[in-house]
Amino acid sequence: MYSKKVMDHFKNPRNTGEIEDADGIGEVGNPICGDIMKITIKVKDDRIEDIKFKTFGCAAAIATSSMITEIAKGKTLEEAKEISKKDVSCALDGLPPIKEHCSNLASEGLRKAIDDYLMKKKD
């Protein structure tokens, strides 16, 4: 049911954990729906220098979080904000239709982390 890439990212998730002195934090989902993602980023010269995730959820939720951290790392904030759910699911060679929302959650989580950084920067 899952592609090889999804299984690879699920079994060997990249960039797991939490950045302690994170510049931006994005948390999405809730326990009732069964998925929670927390993305933390470190920003330098408007680029995502480091990114880590923690996810409570199914294999697809873990794989999409892992994949988005891989795509976003090193990108400028502008570029990272443009990462769509389609980019994530394509990079994973697709997701089962019932799990498409996971990729949405991942891109939403990343955008929230970036917005959080920009908000903090303003203050």
Partner: protein
């Protein structure tokens, strides 16, 4: 006997076909191909085999052979019990009582009946998954025609108080149906003693094949058939009999009866070992279902902070088969409706795993699982935002 590479601990989803069942079926796939309705010897040979199987299934539940109807599945048996009783008795009343934690084949049949003019009450369950007996007493009406309560729940294993229900229904002219698909071969099912009017069985849950089931219908029960045709199965289920699988189900029933005590002890022993080892090795988990009144071999455990599907897939990598909730609903994203009815904390609901032990499992199987599982739980908790301990 089993494929040693795979450890199969999902016997509530299906079971391995017993080798003796396979041997028994074999000739009915080749030389014994007659139609039981034919009067010449080839037909008589098939007819005798079907009737012999019917007797064996009847013996398993202490019924009379003529009270057993062969069906195509447990789902068909449950559909027939609900819809057949509803339509045959609708002039007497249109109210049916069932529970919130039945198998989908009961819940969706009940929903269909509601859309067709019947009235259905769904009983609540407590945190252990046991139905509310007091609520049952209150919900019985003068137009109630049927009460359908599963013998043991397929997800959490809780055994329902069927005898108490029987006492409540006494002299009330209300039929009692029980879905005993998960129970056959694990309990001494005596329909006479239990006062049951209809009881559903499924072949593949008791080491027979998929595509065969049986429905016990007590003599004198008013029930409407849904497959009309040549009048097979006492006019209740027309269609040429599935002779090979009927014969296989007969054999499986015979084995289940013969090995009942042995199997019960075996399942209980492995269940106890699995439970004790898991609880000793892994912190922060809960047992779902009734602590004592449960199906032998069923263990439904919620691991806090993680999601069940991840555990299933990680175990699959190690060739271990278990499930989240029930196999029939695992395509749904919603938490289990059974755990929801038991009002479990959502964090726990998503992390539930059902281990269901079968006759072919061994102590080594349990050891392999309890060696593998703690690392998997630890690695998933390590990346869970809900888990804050190192």
């Amino acid at each position: 006997m089993t494929d040693r590479r795979t450890i199969y601990l999902d016997n509530s989803a299906t079971t391995q076909v017993h080798p003796e069942v396979i041997d028994t079926i074999q000739p009915y796939l080749s030389e014994k191909y007659g139609n039981p309705s034919s009067i010449y010897h080839k037909g008589r040979e098939a007819k005798e085999a079907v009737e012999d199987a019917r007797k064996k299934v009847a013996d398993l539940i202490n019924a009379e052979p003529e009270e057993i109807i062969f069906t195509g599945s447990g789902t068909e048996g449950n559909n027939m019990a609900l819809k057949g009783i509803a339509f045959a008795n609708k002039n007497r009343g249109k109210h049916i009582i069932t529970t919130k934690i039945e198998h989908k084949s009961i819940l969706n049949s009940a929903g269909w009946l509601e859309r067709n003019g019947f009235d259905v009450t769904y009983l609540n369950v407590d945190e252990n998954g046991t139905i509310d007996i007091e609520q049952l007493k209150k919900e019985i009406r003068s137009d109630t025609i049927l009460v359908s309560v599963m013998f043991a729940n397929n997800e959490v294993g809780t055994i329902q108080p069927i005898e108490e229900i029987k006492d409540i229904l006494k002299n009330k002219n209300i039929y009692l149906h029980t879905d005993a698909v998960q129970t056959a071969g694990k309990f001494d099912l005596d329909v006479k003693e239990l006062g049951i009017d209809l009881l559903t069985l499924s072949g593949h849950k008791m080491h027979a094949t998929k595509g065969i089931g049986a429905l016990y219908i007590k003599k004198g029960t008013k029930i409407e058939p849904f497959l009309h045709g040549g009048g097979q199965e006492r006019n209740l289920r027309s269609g040429t009999e599935n002779v090979p699988e009927i014969v296989g189900m007969g054999k499986a029933a015979e084995i289940a009866k013969k090995d009942l005590e042995k199997n019960r002890i075996h399942l209980k022993k492995l269940e106890k070992k699995l439970k004790e080892d898991i609880f000793r090795k892994i912190p922060e988990l809960i047992l779902n279902g009734h602590p004592e009144k449960r199906l032998p071999g069923n263990l439904n455990i919620s691991f806090k902070y993680i999601e069940g599907e991840s555990v299933v897939l990680m175990l699959d990598e190690k060739d271990i088969c278990v499930s989240t909730g029930s196999a029939c609903t695992s395509n749904s994203l919603k938490p289990s409706y059974v755990l929801t009815a038991m009002k479990k904390d959502p964090v726990f609901m998503h992390g539930s795993i059902r281990f269901s032990i079968g006759a072919f499992n061994t102590e080594e199987d349990i050891d392999t699982i309890t060696k593998t599982l703690p690392e998997i739980i630890k690695s998933l908790r390590a990346i869970s935002p809900l888990y804050n301990k190192d």
